[in-house]
């Protein structure tokens, strides 16, 4: 029976990876990931917190290894591990409180003892699930949380520039538009041209929107008051891995001293550092279609065409991060990291 369950677990993880890879998940990947791990915690048999940590680590590692560039799932795994640790420790503390009196000696040594996570605590499963449910609700409301802060950052008659199509940015701008009048300039972000969709959606909700080609970013930047962008990942040093075209945008903003505000839910915060400027292990390259057409025929066998998805933006180009918990400077990211994740889980 256990074997069957194990098989189901493997299968679930595999399906999840495939779904993410082939873009079959339409709502939020992170919420799906939390659901998956909740299933695992409920269905797989484990007795001690240590077992559970091991199971989650193994599966998390598998997922993270299979999608090295989609760090948010890895970050979710780290958060879940941290939650398990926290719950275990607090339950253990309660238990000890009940059974024994607190002594100074115990307080000093308790940290060391609790690290093995080997005590069997029956209520642990329930507590973890409760906490994960809370976490899920938090994730669901994350875009709202960020959008709530829009009024503090967007003022009347400002000109805002953005690039690509980030749902967080869209919600943020729409929220601000409810009681402020401002203008948005959207860079198209070719060859995928995601900017077109964003411009369309903004225009539909009566925001004055201008769509520009990427080549016009520098020319227009002098008139822009603020750059507001989304990102795929926030690196441990505060740099960004964001949609291709963000780096030139940030450079132009730096040149004209325009503040760059990055909207980043906390699950996008990754403990990874940029390991290579050669972009290879950092970036994702998709089909060259769009840069060059397959219908061009024979010339394709004579050239190399690269179509990267991401840009690395160094932290010095970022003025402010806005997460669901508020605004942070890039230099503060290291602190957030140690708050969110347990140091043992940085490497899955």
């Amino acid at each position: 029976m256990i074997e069957n369950k194990q098989f189901g677990l493997e299968e679930g993880v595999r399906n999840f990876i495939l779904d993410v890879k082939y873009e079959r998940i339409h709502n939020d990947i992170v919420i799906e990931a939390v659901k998956l791990f909740k299933d695992i915690i409920v269905n797989v048999e484990w007795t001690t917190a240590n077992d559970l940590l091991q199971i989650i680590k193994i599966q998390g590692k598998k997922i993270a290894k299979n999608m090295p560039l989609n760090s948010s799932v890895g970050n979710i795994v780290r958060r879940i591990l941290k939650i398990i640790r926290e719950e275990y420790l607090s339950l253990l503390k309660n238990k000890q409180d009940e059974s024994q009196e607190e002594s100074l000696h115990k307080i000093v040594t308790s940290e060391g003892q609790s690290d093995d996570f080997n005590k069997n605590i029956p209520q642990l499963k329930l507590a973890i699930i409760d906490h994960l449910n809370e976490f899920e609700t938090e994730l669901e409301g994350i875009a709202d949380n960020i959008a709530q802060q829009a009024r503090e950052h967007i003022h009347s008659n400002e000109i805002i520039m953005t690039i690509g199509n980030s749902e967080t940015v869209e919600a943020f701008l729409k929220k601000a538009a409810k009681d402020r009048k401002f203008e948005v300039i959207v860079a198209a972000c070719s060859p995928s041209n995601q900017g077109h969709d964003l411009a369309l959606n903004l225009a539909k909700s009566k925001i004055q929107t201008t769509l520009i080609p990427d080549s016009a970013i520098f020319g227009i930047m002098s008139r822009v008051n603020k750059v507001i962008i989304g990102t795929q990942t926030v690196m441990a040093n505060g740099g960004l891995r964001a949609v291709c075209g963000t780096h030139p945008l940030a450079l132009a903003a730096k040149h004209y001293s325009v503040p760059v505000i990055v909207l980043a839910p906390l699950y996008q915060l990754s403990p990874q550092y940029l390991c290579s400027y050669d972009q290879d292990s950092f970036n994702s390259f998709i089909s060259p279609e769009g840069v060059l057409n397959y219908a061009d025929g024979d010339i394709l066998s004579k050239v190399h065409v690269y179509n990267p998805v991401f840009d690395y933006v160094p932290p010095e180009f970022v003025t402010l991060f806005i997460s669901n918990t508020g605004g942070h400077a890039p230099s503060y990211v290291y602190r957030l990291l140690s708050e969110l994740y347990h140091a043992d889980d940085y490497e899955l």
Partner: protein
Amino acid sequence: MHKKTGRSVVDSVTKEDVIQAVLIADSYNDDLFPAYPVPCLLPIVNLPLLDYTLQCLSSAHVQEVIIFCSAHADSLKEYLKGKCWGRMSINVVVSDGCRSLGDAMRDLDSKALIRGDFILLTGNLIGNLKVLPALEKHKKIQKTDKGLAMTLLYKECGKKSRTEDDEVFLAIDKNTSQLLLHQRCSREASKINLPVEKLLEHKSMDIRCDLMDTRVAICSLSVPPLFSDNFDYQTRDDFVRGLLMDEEILASSVYTYILPPTEYAASVTSWQNYHSISHDIIHRWTYPLVPDMFLDQYYSYRRNNIYVQDNVTLAQGCSLVEDVVIGGESDVGENTVIQSSIIGKNCKISEKSSIINSHILNRVTIEKGCKIDYCVIGEGCIIRNGAQLTSCIIGPGVVIGRDKVVENMRLQSERPLGEDEKENYGPKAFVYQSEETEAGSDSDSDIYPIAKKYYGLKLEARADDSDTCSESEGHISDKESLLQEDTNVFFSEVVDSLLRGYEDKLPCDNLVLEVNSSRYAYNVTLNEVNYYVVRAILTLQDEFKWDGIAAKLKYFMPLLVNYIRNEEAMLDSLNAIEDVAEVHSDFEAVSLKLIHLLYNKDILSEDAILKWYNEPRMENEESKRLRKVVEPFIKWLKEADDEESESE
């Protein structure tokens, strides 16, 4: 246990909604031999072809796949055992007797496994296409055209050099995208042949040759029964051709669907397109089906399209130039150059070798100083020091000896049955004998496909016909070739009957009957009959001594009397004589005697001979020469004429 739950989910959905795909796992030919025993498990960029196909179907939301196989069923099942494909269920149907796609479809019809529109494809598909939009379009057309049988999927590839088998000309109705003409082109027939009715029926049409056949088709429920009704359909091309020819009778039509530019699909059918498709994979056109995106395949992707797996040892001074894939646990020695090549897992490549444009499968050992260009090397091969291989396809387990130079070969490790071939290339290397070549080695037409197979990976640069010959010339010669198709067959049949008649001394009346029946079978005009009969008689045994010809003429005289009755026929026979003389110079000498004889026998009249002499069809050397030869006879004719008139 899990499988059961999967099945029940499928059952609970209404059955019509299930998207079925029929995957033909056999190629029914040995074009992709002998590098890997099972064609659809042949690795391309280090993963079996079938992997790509199933991944593609799984990501295209196909729910049920029926894998149809005849040979290699066990290895296929073995391979499928350990795999899971998400929410897709896979059924393997084994049918031993199948020799072609047609057989498979007929079997499918009798087994009644199909419930609605289905996707028909081979196990060699590589692509990231989304099948759903094509399926939707198929259903939409079905509403307006009840006879819709098949929608063929094509990918725009522009002007791309490719093999002849892949060249295809299509005529497509511009508004409805109905297929009107489907013609594979070869070097010989460079023109297309479009019936006038089609031009009249359809207002506007596109004629395209920039499309690549993906060999994926959406089929209606009516397709398997159509195959059953027409048992001569063997391949999909037969089917399409049959439907286009007998559109009214079968009440079925074929449509096309051109993939949007973001989607890629291609099928491996020959070594040449194996090479070009692997190039496309390395260049990421198939994204997300690229080496570093597959499950449990951890490649690091570097500049210049270089993919390297874990635990690869790259020695000092070795250079990976571009477009290189190296599988896990492989070693590359010092100063070795690898370019545009794929190296499998656990390969050992020693120092100072060069590997260019090649595909090396798993566990291959290549010793020092080898040169490998445009080759496919099967699993577990050993290439000894200093060997040089060009354009070779090498089966599993072959050992190539030291310093051997091998070009344009297909080699296998086992000695072919009943042949005492010497080990020319190494201790375990024998020339691969294709079954097809053995079966049809005596007939001339088979020489061509055998030769073609030795092309290997390299795509021969194709002489561009349209540039080399001027337009008008091409037009005329083509018209002739079209006309001649039937008459050529007619001619060869006439030669056959005459030869048989002459040898068996059959009465000439019977021969007349035979020639006449051939004439009606091939719809040949009377003029041509006259011409070809004379020509056939003259060239019957390719000997042009006067005695032989005289004997033959004597025998065939009744035949000539039967056909050559008026002046026009006489001119035809004279033209035939002229043409034979043009080809066979020996004949020229006897032509004088021949014409004289025919004149004496009253087959040719004086007027006809003079007319032929004075009005040559073409002003060229040969005709002048011939007329010089027959000049004395003409002179004599004229003199005789004058004398007659004088005497009167």
